[in-house]
Structure formats: C-alpha cells, structure tokens
C-alpha cells in the first residue's frame, strides 16, 4: 500500500519536529537529531527532506522572527499536519505489526 510514503530519515525528521513542537526550524532540528541519535546531519539532506515533507502535506510552516544572528533572515518553523500525524501513526502501526509477526524463536539469537 502506497498510502503513506515515509522514508526512514523522513520519519526521524517528522518525529523530531514533533519533539521540538513550536521550536522546530532548520538548525534546531539538525542539532536535536545530532544529539539524540549521535549521527551527522547535513544541511542539504535535512532541508531536502523538510521540503519534500512539506510538499507531501505532512508538514506546514510559519515564519518566525528575523534575528541578528541570522543576518536578518527569518526562521521558518515546521509543524506536523493532521495528514502528517496519520502518516506517522501508519508507519508506527505497520512496524509494530511486523514486530508482532516475528516468531519468538527468530529473535533468540545466542551470542557466543
């Protein structure tokens, strides 16, 4: 089913936007992912993902204040839309279904 397309990185971005709530903009999302998941996030990858999610209708934006440290450029804050929420829930429920479907034996891997 191609109802809700959400890639792995996209899902992480969505979740982080949720975590940051009203404070989610480019730099803050990047930092949050980097500290929580200890992985490097390039500006390019992050903004491509954000733009794509916005185009899909999973995220909406509102303009923030322009500050001196940003050389007068406004922040663009992201928020999860209702459709975005449904996509996340769908992604989560399919995961859990798959988890439940794995027989217990399969996960009892002995580490010798």
């Amino acid at each position: 089913m191609k109802k809700y397309q959400l890639g792995e990185f996209e899902e992480i971005v969505m979740l982080t936007v949720g975590i940051l709530y009203n404070e989610a903009y480019g730099v803050s999302i990047k930092k949050d992912i980097e500290t929580r998941l200890s992985r490097n996030v390039s500006m390019g990858a992050l903004h491509t993902a954000l733009t794509r999610l916005e185009d899909k209708g999973y995220l909406k934006t509102f303009d923030g204040e322009a500050t001196e440290e940003r050389a007068g450029r406004p922040r663009k804050y992201y928020q999860i839309t209702a459709l975005g929420k449904r996509a996340m829930e769908y992604s989560r429920s399919t995961r859990e279904e798959l988890w439940r479907a794995i027989p217990k034996m399969a996960l009892q891997v002995k580490i010798v």
Binding site: Y25, G26, R73, P74
Partner: protein, 442 residues
C-alpha cells in the same frame, strides 16, 4: 566590531543556485550555524564547515530550475482580476446594482430594438428571388388628387404577357387573400387562401415538403401549407387527397409547402389554388378578362435578370391609358413596386413615394442608439466617481482605478498590462471581459 562574514564566493554561489522560495530561511539557517561555529571554534573552522554545508546543499531538491518560474497559462492573472472585481462588486452592493442594472437595462432596450429592426429589414428575404419580385401598381387621378393602390384590371396581365413578356420571367395574376372553408370528410376548417396563376409557387420559391412547385398546372388543384395539411389530415398523407372548397368545388392536393415565416408578406395565406378554378366558380369574373375598368386583382411578377425595374416601369407606364379610352380620363399610371419596398416603403402622397414604415424603423433606431449612449455615459460616470473615491485612499495620485501590475502576472504579462487594454494580446477577449468586470467593480 563587524560580525564575521562567511566566504562571500560560496554565499553568492548558494544564492545563485537555491530555489527562491527556500533561499531566505536556508540562508538564515546557514548564518545562524556559521555565527555559532565562529564563536565555538573560530572563523577558520566555521568557514570550512560553511563551505561544506553550501556544497552539500547543492542537490536536486534545493537547486532551482534552470529558468525562472514560467506559467504556461494566464490563469492566475485572470483569477486575480475576477476575484478583485467580484469583491469590489460585493463590497458596494447598492452601487453595483444601480450601475450594472442601468447598463443592462440600456443594453436590453438597445438589443430589443436592434432585433426588431433586423426583423423589419429582413422582411420577405425568405424568397430566393427577393430582388426581382415586383407588384404591379396603379396610380390614378381622382378629383385632382392621385391615388396609388395595388388593385389592377385583368387585361393588364394579358397585355404585359403579350407585349412586354421579354422583361418578365413570371407574371402571376392573383385574387385577394380571403377566408375559405376547407373540408375533407368530417373535418372542416376555415383558412385564408389565395387563387393565383400557376407560376406563383416557383416565383416565391416555396419550400415543398411534398409534391412540386408545378402543382397548380391543373385547374382543379391546390397547394396547402404544412399547418393546413396537419389540421385536415393529421398524420395521414395529404398528397392526392381531394378537398372541398367553400362547399362548392373540389380540388386535389398536389403539394404541401413549409409554412411561410412570420416576416413575409405572403405569410397570411395558408393555401394556394388556381386562378382558373376561381374563374369557373365565380361567374362574374369572366367578363373582367377584357374590362380595363375593373380594378379588382393583384398582379405580381418576377423581372428577368437583365431588366431594370425603372426602365420597365417607364415602358409600361401608359399601357392602360393607351388601351382604354374611357379609363384614360383618370390618367392611370402603371408601375412596378419592388418586393424589398413592400414592407417598409409602401406609402404614396399624391402619386409621390413618401416612405412608410421605414420612418418608424429609423425613429426606433435613433431611440435605440440614444438609450445605449445614455446607458454608457451613466455607467462611465458612476464608474469614474467610484474610482476617484478609491484613488483617494491610494498612495499613487495617478491611480485611475486600474492596478498597474496585476497580481499573479508573469513579467511579459505585466508589460502588456502597463500598455493598457488596447494592445494586442493573445487572450485579448478574455482579458477584456476581465477588465470590464474589474471596471464594474469600480
């Protein structure tokens, strides 16, 4: 101290390739990170990381398309026009009502008058030989004044046919149009009809539904209009049926023709029977064949293509006076009255053509033009007053109520818009409608 500046070359590169809609806040993010890194690790490291960021962002999702946004249609611009126009209308409902209602009323009156004039001017054009058909008329002097009327004596027909036959394609002697009772079995109806010589159907180019235009060759025949045929026979085939006229004589239906349209002189009669039948049923007619004094009949004719109506009129002018000594005292003058003048120019004053219905047509035409003009002036006045009021609230004193740059228009469209509505535009009509809506909106 001025804040540290990132490598300008890369910043310019970023600004060049980035999608316009992302540019502002992406640059903000870059600067925020840069400033932070400057504070944390110093300018060199920050510069290096800035360059890496810029290069990493050089990817499909962020690079702008090669050409600037190019709308493939003008939909956005028109949408904006209509929206603004509509909102202005809705904002001043009473004013809009008066303005549009007034214009609509004026247009309606002008259009109705126009339709009526068109109907009058197209009178009788149903007939294919419209240009060549004439009625033979007669002007006589009675008690010092000249009376011009259509009735002519029968011998005139014979004389024209024998002596002036080369000028006419058809000559048709006919009765007046009168009510006659038609019956077939139990069915009895009363219809207006005419008795005429056999060339009439051909001359006035009747559209035959059944039978042919030659159907009047035999004396006891009749052509009926489609509505007459329906009234008498319903769905049955009327052809070759015999009907009883006025309870006195029988005639066989040899043809059915399409009803003549409303704007024809001949629309009145619903059937055509033959002149010969008329003569046999009305014995008093017989002596009229040689009597120049009995002005009781109508005479129609179709000129030959090479004959000029004025020349022929001049030729036949004295034909009656020459042939009848007794009638000559009335100074009978015979002339031809062309079909194109039947409806609108059929009045004579003392023998001189004085016009007719055409005067009414002209009068109404002038009234129509004036009503339209008044409606337009009124509309322009109200619109101008409106836009002046609007211009007061505007920053630009030269604002005439139009927007100089339409929202949603691409650059090429803006140029057209500045030049005004007069210039050629490939969607000119639509554009003008939009401008009118905007105008109405004031």
């Amino acid at each position: 101290m001025t804040p540290p500046r990132p490598p300008q070359l890369f910043l310019r590169f970023f600004r060049w390739y980035c999608k316009p809609r992302l540019r502002n806040h992406l640059e903000g993010d870059l600067m925020e990170l840069y400033n932070e890194r400057c504070a944390a690790w110093g300018k060199r490291t920050a510069n290096r990381k800035f360059i890496v960021d810029v290069l990493q962002m050089f990817r499909p999702g962020i690079i702008r398309p090669l050409h600037d946004h190019k709308p493939i249609n003008h939909y956005g611009m028109y949408k904006s026009y209509f929206k603004i126009g509509w909102r202005n209308l809705a904002k001043n409902k009473g004013y809009s009502f008066i303005n549009i209602g007034g214009l609509a009323m004026g247009l309606m009156v002008a259009m109705l008058i126009g339709l009526w004039i068109y109907d009058e001017l197209s009178f009788d054009t149903y007939h294919e030989n419209y240009k060549d058909i004439v009625q033979v008329m007669q002007a006589q002097t009675v008690d010092g004044s000249v009376i011009t009327e259509p009735p002519v004596p029968w011998p005139l027909e014979t004389e024209l046919r024998n002596t002036y036959g080369s000028d006419f394609k058809y000559i048709v002697l006919a009765t007046w149009i009168n009510y006659h009772a038609l019956s077939h079995g139990e069915e009895k109806i009363t219809k207006l009809g005419i008795y005429a010589q056999p060339d009439l159907p051909e001359m006035i180019s009747l559209h035959m539904i059944a039978g042919t235009r030659n159907g009047l060759r035999d004396a006891n025949s009749i052509l009926v209009s489609a509505s007459t045929a329906r009234a008498l026979f319903g769905a049955d085939d009327p052809l070759n049926q015999t009907i009883h006229i006025d309870g006195r004589h029988d005639a066989k239906i040899t043809g059915v023709y399409e009803d003549l349209p409303h704007n024809t002189t001949f629309r009145d009669f619903q059937f055509i029977s033959t002149w010969d039948l008329y003569v046999t049923t009305e014995p008093w007619i017989k002596p009229s064949a040689t009597n120049w004094g009995n002005n009781s009949f109508q005479l129609f004719a179709q000129l030959n293509p090479h004959s000029d109506i004025n020349n022929v009129s001049k030729k036949i002018e004295n034909v009656k006076a020459k042939n009848s000594k007794e009638e000559a005292v009335l100074h009978p003058r015979i002339f031809l009255h062309p079909m194109r003048d039947w409806r609108l120019r059929s009045e004579w004053k003392n023998g001189v053509h004085s016009g007719g219905r055409i005067q009414m047509v002209m009068l109404f035409g002038v009234i129509g033009v004036f009503v339209l003009l008044l409606a337009c002036i009124n509309f322009m006045n109200l619109s101008t007053a409106r836009s002046e009021k609007r211009a007061k609230g505007s920053r630009h004193s030269h604002d005439d109520g139009f927007r100089a740059t339409p929202i949603g228009a691409a650059i090429s469209e803006r140029i057209v818009s500045r030049r005004g509505p007069g210039v050629y535009h490939r969607a000119g009509v639509c554009r003008r409608i939009a401008l009118v809506v905007q105008r109405i909106g004031g």
